[in-house]
Amino acid sequence: MLAFLTRRAAAAVVILLTLSLVIFVLQAVSPGDPARAYVGANASPEMVAAERQRLGLNDPFFTRYFHFLGGVFTGDLGRSLRTRQSVVSDIATYLPATAELVVTAFLIALVLAALYALSGALRWPGAALGRGVLLLLAAAPPFLLALIGIIVFFGQLGWLPARGVGDFEDPGPFGMQALDTLLHGQPDAFVNALAHLALPAVVLSIAPAVAIGRVFRSSLRAVLDVDYVRTARSKGLTEFQVVAHHVVRNGIGPALSMGGLQLGFMFAGVVVVEQVFSWPGIGNYLAASIPVADFPAIAGVTLVLGAIYVVSNVVVDLLQAVADPRVTAE
């Protein structure tokens, strides 16, 4: 176990270093100029050039890269040129909202995937229509789903809001509106937060739900025909017991891997969804940093997302070993 974790940690470091170098190289060759965002859109070209010099943006490539790396190893990701705050504090401000959104979306995706897979494998009557609708929705790109969701549920029906995390102040320590208002026992604010969370989370969850669901369904189908399942039935176990104790646990392996993969994709998809819903998370922060070429922010967010992706893959591998002891986590 220790060897496994050490190997994975070393791999993570290599991955993140490569990521940072790639981002740095892309930034060096791209035409964007963060100094302009720093002094303001109306500043003269001379002012912009002077600010570029002052911010050290004209320094040679490797000077800037090693300065950046040195900062990373001491936990200092630099200062965002757009918000003028430290990137670490910006990420700490905006990451909780994204975490809340992604976790909620992932849970919804798991539920939908389970329904999709079980209804398909066990042939529940009438569920094919539901699966077809899900499939159709998953075929649409997330931003299109998001816009349709806003037009229907906000524009036409007025049932759900289209912007932000909530209309109340966030009271709590975590920076997650729904969780904090729940912990503080504020029912109005909590319901309001859930209403704001509903549309973005559902939109984000649909494509992963179908992807996980399809994989899970086919592995369930394969397990349902296996000998030990027949034995379990002939022992007299109810169908529910057979499915719950034998079928699911043996069929979950591929779905777990797909789940880990989809979680990683979700963090990529969250950028677009957050933009459409004006959700104040790390995706929106990144989307605002890219047009102004705010390199410290872009690099910081990329590293954080890369780290999340690596960690979630390690967790998936560990869970595989838990679900199926024959698989050693390596």
Binding site: G40, A43, P45, V48, S278, A288
Partner: protein, 296 residues
């Protein structure tokens, strides 16, 4: 420089859509349904939808972008302003009631308005002019060049400021009138909250101005809120509160405007949207800035 400032004026008139008086007059709180937007809000709160964050801290010595100009010119005031409600470019009084310029345009004497207070309660006197100019030079923002020409500020009494320039400059009054021009900030407030960066951290989420509204909330990328300042010297608007939520998506902003969640949009909407509103003929006021393209 001069044309750029004129553009600045034009830009601050931004591209605004305001509802003119329409049907019911009470604001629909939940919205819903097409065309549910009714007349101007009567609950004392104006909601202005921003398309994208304002881009820089709402600090008058830093801010030199476009989206947040409305926040700046309502929380802060300069000595003079451009005259309202006219297409001609004329300098009008603001915190200075009248002024004299010597024939060589290098000494400007301002007679300041009495009875003005900053939002922290301290009175506005001539010493604030010197403090504001010095801070602008120290912060070195995009618009610091406007006060680079100043050699000295003398304050013979509390309500007179004599500004001597390093060399003659006929554009100086335009600098002072610009929405990005030097604004008066409370010297007491600046001293108390100076920190290590001339109060830049403080002014990124508070304000020390004299304007009709106080900046009560400034969450980057989320929303800004202005609350009416009761001690304001000038006319009172019917809006006690102005909320500026940040929308990062154009379509969501338009939908919010359509169902009444947002009363006003200050943004450059695509021409297809403008056509849509023109065709709907709901009595909108579309305000354009003619010479809006900033060259860079």
């Amino acid at each position: 420089m001069h044309t750029r400032l004129l553009r600045g004026v034009a830009i601050c008139a931004a591209l605004t859509m305001a509802l003119s008086a329409c049907s019911s007059g009470t604001r629909s709180s939940n919205g819903g349904g097409q065309g549910a937007a009714s007349g101007p809000p009567t609950d004392g709160t104006l909601t202005v939808g921003l398309l994208g964050d304002i881009g820089q801290p709402p600090d008058p010595d830093i801010y030199y972008a476009n989206n947040g100009t409305a926040i700046m010119i309502n929380a802060y005031e300069g000595l003079v302003q451009y005259k309202n409600n006219t297409d001609k470019v004329e300098i009008a009084p603001r915190l200075a009631e009248r002024w004299e310029v010597n024939p060589t345009h290098d000494v400007y004497t301002f007679h300041l308005r009495k009875g003005v207070t900053f939002h922290d309660g301290t009175p506005f006197t001539s010493v604030a002019v010197d403090v504001a100019f010095k801070r602008r030079i120290a912060v070195k923002g995009g618009a610091a060049y406007m006060v680079d020409v100043v050699k000295s500020v003398d304050t013979p009494d509390d309500y007179t400021a004599v500004i001597t320039l390093k060399q003659p400059n006929t554009a100086f009054l335009s600098y002072l009138a610009s929405p990005f021009g030097p604004k008066m900030e409370s010297p007491e407030g600046l001293k108390t909250n100076a920190g290590s960066d001339d109060a830049q951290t403080y002014l990124s989420s508070h304000d020390l101005g004299t304007g009709p509204y106080m900046l009560t909330t400034a969450q980057t990328g989320v929303k800004y809120e202005l609350t009416q300042y009761d001690g304001y010297w000038g006319p009172k608007s019917p809006f006690k509160k102005v909320e500026l939520p940040v929308y990062t998506d154009e379509s969501a902003l338009e939908l919010a405007f359509d169902n009444g969640t947002v009363d006003t949009i200050a943004a450059a909407l695509p021409s297809s949207s403008l056509e849509k509103y023109r065709r709907q003929g709901r009595g909108f006021q579309l305000l354009f800035c003619r010479r809006c393209r900033v060259r860079w």
